[in-house]
């Protein structure tokens, strides 16, 4: 009985177990096919998407920053070069607590809020295992401090990156300019692809004007990388194209002499080769240390530069607009001759002042008591003001304006760097338009001696002097001589054509006698020169002396003293170099500005002889 029950039960259990086993097998088959379905979805349906993702993981596109072009002077001496610099970089994935690490680093090294902000911003955009700069431009001490503590900072490293260096920072600050970190505004204008690896961009001078040439073309490298960012092999390589090297027309020796000759004065000098338009020296004093900017200037130093009374950041050579004073007299003289308002032989009496008819106002000559009877020649040599009051009165302002326009006054010269000012060459139309006022005859008189509304930049003066020296042939001033090995051709301006070419000689002879004549205002610089200089002095009033007052040279405040000017070219017969010198608050052009020009000519003409 028991056995039969057992048997029956066992049979029943067997059947039950079998049916449950089959259920289990079906269950397992469902699981099996659901896995197959899932795998099919991943490996067939979405295969392409995941292939792309795997490829993105595997291949890293790294940017190879091009080497910035070098800048040389006319003799091949380096004016801007690339030196190794160091930056502090972090790989966030290798750092446990980034905020703590940054805090500890800023205890060790000076790190500003802005740098931390920039770092955090960049961190969000970067791919995994890419190093992100926290601080650029570490100095040697900072590198040493970090190196000593490196073991405390896993995932933090010092990376070398080229840094711009200027061997003659003060001398070239207003020509070569400087580079600095790319700012938000520049970021919008540059090609983001080409600047992917670049941290610096030209801010002023040649560095800015020739940015596109100097920068070069970015290169790429595709590497196969591990998740930790270690590259295993290079898949493709597009080398970067280095920036072009620039050779300037600037001669650093000449530049140095010009700069040093200014001594403690502030001022500007432009020296242009009359034969090519090549700018051989372009000085604005004081300069400043451009390396501070290339390294990233701290706010204290920057504030000091900005607030300095001498305004070292101001490019006087291009942007300084000075009353040209008597340096305009040769040009007005030429205008008078051309318009036949004065004859070469005509003599005009200078009693020391000039009065317009029916007016009480006296227009004084700088020489109390007057020069006596003056020809045009005499009036240039001795810089007689009364002669030019009369000449201006006869010419009228509009003819003065149109004639001097031909020499580039009131216009930008077209120099190949940015920021030039156009100066001011007044006219009736100009005054109506800008001031909405009528032109007064008295204004014509003071314009005739280069005062009043007249404003010129040192570069303009040098450019006009070169045109005069070339007897009308003008060349656009240029700073860059060669881009790599491609020579930049001189660019002629529309020439000044006179009705009578003999007038050139008359004016040039007068300028010759300014230096070489017995009564010339710059006669003291002729001593010992193996070549002949032709020039014209100028003294520009910074403030007007009232009618009854006397300009008291001794007691006037330094910054209200007259500016001393001198324009010149040499050799007088076969001109090579035209120079304009402006010495701010220097007093007399003949005594202060002219000797500076002489020193520059000495260097330029004697070395090229």
């Amino acid at each position: 009985m028991k056995t039969s029950f057992d048997l029956k039960s066992s049979l029943h259990e067997n059947r039950l177990f079998l049916s449950r086993s089959i259920t289990l097998i079906i269950f397992v088959l469902i699981l099996f096919f659901s896995l197959i379905a899932r795998l099919t979805y991943l490996q067939i349906e979405t295969h392409e998407k995941y292939t792309d993702l795997a490829q993105n993981n595997r291949v890293r596109l790294s940017v190879i920053t091009p080497v910035r072009g070098l800048i040389f002077d006319s003799h091949g001496r380096v004016l801007a070069e690339n030196t190794p610099g160091y930056s502090l970089e972090l790989i966030p994935e290798q750092i446990k607590d980034i905020n703590l690490t940054v805090k500890k680093l800023s205890d060790l090294l000076p790190i500003s809020e802005n740098e931390i902000k920039r770092f955090n911003r960049q961190r969000k955009q970067q791919k995994r295992f890419t190093s992100i700069p926290l601080r650029n431009r570490l100095n040697d001490t900072e590198v040493a401090i970090f190196s000593a503590n490196r073991h405390l900072f896993p995932g933090v490293e010092i990376q070398a990156q080229p840094l711009r260096h200027y061997p003659f920072p003060e001398l070239t600050s207003h020509v070569v300019g400087y580079v600095g970190a790319i700012n938000e505004k520049e970021l919008k204008t540059i090609d983001p692809v080409n600047y992917r690896g670049s941290r610096f961009i030209g801010k002023t001078g040649i560095e800015k004007a020739y940015e596109s040439k100097l920068h070069g073309q970015v290169g790429y490298q595709q590497t196969e990388n591990t998740a930790q960012g270690r590259s295993l092999k290079v898949l493709s390589h597009t080398p970067p194209l280095s920036g072009s090297n620039l050779t300037l027309n600037i001669d650093i020796d000449l530049q140095r002499i010009a700069y040093n000759q200014l001594g403690d004065y502030t001022g500007a000098i432009a020296a242009i080769d009359t034969r090519t338009g090549a700018v051989r020296a372009l000085v604005s004093k004081p300069g400043f240390n451009t390396n501070l900017f290339a390294k990233g200037i701290d706010s204290t130093s920057y504030k000091a530069l900005r607030t300095s009374l001498k305004q070292p950041l101001f490019n006087r050579a291009l942007r300084g607009q000075y009353p040209p004073g008597s340096t305009l007299k040769p040009f007005f003289g030429l205008a008078g001759l051309e318009h036949d308002t004065v004859k070469p032989s005509e003599k005009i009496n200078c009693p020391g002042f000039y009065q317009l008819q029916k007016k009480e106002h006296k227009y004084r000559d700088w020489k109390k008591g007057g020069h006596g009877m003056m020809t045009l020649h005499d009036s240039i040599v001795q810089s007689c003001d009364v002669y030019f009051y009369i000449l201006a009165h006869r010419l009228k302002i509009d003819r003065m304006h149109s004639f001097l326009s031909k020499f580039g006054f009131g216009q930008k010269t077209g120099l190949d760097i940015i920021g030039e000012k156009s100066g001011l060459l007044p006219s009736r139309k100009w005054k109506r338009r800008v001031r909405n006022q009528a032109w007064y005859p008295g204004e014509t008189l003071i314009a005739g001696i280069g005062q009043g509304f007249n404003l010129t930049t040192p570069l303009q003066l040098a450019h006009a002097t070169a045109i005069l020296a070339n007897k009308g042939k003008g060349l656009t001033p240029s700073l860059v001589a060669r881009i790599n090995n491609n020579t930049i051709k001189p660019r002629p301006t529309s020439p000044v054509v006179l009705g009578n070419n003999a007038h050139w000689e008359l004016i040039i002879n007068a300028m010759y006698d300014v230096v070489n004549g017995a009564r010339g205002t710059a006669r003291r610089i002729k001593e010992g020169a193996p070549y002949k200089i032709a020039g014209k002095t100028g003294t520009a009033q910074v403030f007007s002396v009232k009618q009854d007052e006397k300009y008291d040279e001794e007691n006037v405040l330094e910054h209200l003293k007259d500016h001393a000017l001198f324009i010149a070219f040499a050799p007088a017969k076969d001109p090579q170099l035209a120079i304009a010198v402006i010495v701010e608050n220097g007093g007399h052009g003949g005594s202060v500005a002219a000797p500076i020009a002489r020193a520059i000519f000495d260097q330029y003409i004697t070395t090229s002889l």
């Binding site: 039960s9 029943h12 259990e13 039950l16 177990f17 079998l18 449950r20 086993s21 259920t23 289990l24 097998i25 397992v28 088959l29 699981l31 099996f32 659901s34 896995l35 197959i36 899932r38 795998l39 099919t40 991943l42 490996q43 067939i44 979405t46 295969h47 998407k49 995941y50 292939t51 993702l53 795997a54 490829q55 993981n57 595997r58 995994r128 196969e224 990388n225 591990t226 998740a227 930790q228 295993l232």
Partner: protein, 378 residues
Amino acid sequence: MISSIQRTQLRSHYHQRKTGLLQRFHIDITLLILLTCLSSIGILILLSAGHEDIGLLQRQVTRLGIAFCAMLLVAQIPPHILKMFAPWLFLLGTLLLLGVLFAGVMGKGAQRWLDLGFFRFQPSELLKLATPMMIAWYLAEKRLPPRLKHILFSTLFIAIPTVLIAKQPDLGTAILIASSGIAVLFLAGISLKLITGVIAAGAGLAPLLWSYMKDYQKQRVLTFLNPEDDPLGAGYHIIQSKIAIGSGGLFGKGWMLGSQARLEFLPESSTDFIFAVFSEEFGLIGCITLLTVYLLIFIRSIYIATQAQDTFSRLLAGSLSLTFFVYLFVNVAMVTGILPVVGVPLPLVSYGGTSMVTLLIGFGILMSIHTHRKLLSS
């Protein structure tokens, strides 16, 4: 009558001669071949996943050797002896689990190991076998299908190790142990109504379970639901794993050529995520082949269960078969992103020792069950 006995004797004689050696050593050749196949695939893929680390490979081969020996050794033990030991093993395992809770060693944020001085041991591994043995032992004496009282006791036996292990916390193993016990109950024939009822209740209790979960477990579930939320943090594993599998395509990138694992984008590539490496290198074709090997092992095992001669053997064999496949399923489902990451290795392929030994001892038990069958006649 006589002829029938003679026939049986003849058949058994013939049978013995054919499988003599294997039968004597209690080896099931089908299982042995399939398991060897699987382990060989495992070694091949470990070579790639482990970045050609020969040391790693040697350790794995050594472990496999030990595990296969353990399997063959256990196969020699007749099922009735195993049955005898079942409650004691279960008791020992439970005590050890309690020991782990109080004196265990932390590893990867969970308390799983018991340091016995000369080696470290995971008691949860013992329970992978002891739990189904215990339930099978308990139910074998009862009339089947079991009555409610027996079901409740069985549930208690399942719950004790499951809860203790989940507390370690080791959710993956807890799931496997629970499923091994439930499998026994299911095979014992508990009513399907009850099962659906329990599932419904389980779903109802899910929020309660959520509140008991550790933060990292919650994170895993959340990550599972939306891995793209945190692509560089918790979601990183599963995203990289899917990239590896998906980029494998139909034919795969070729052995040792999977970029995801070789370039170290895939974490845990030689342990829990080794299936992703395999999928990347061998594609869908390879995956189907590999899964089919697992399926065949399961089918052979369940066949052994149906051929078993007593209730204990039958229930135990059935449970071991199912657990093996659940093991595979949980791992692949986790790696392909259809289950949260619970930390279950790919059976016999993932690098790692203890679980492999346990698994193969399980197959040793299956072999024992199959080769210790008494002839009907005797």
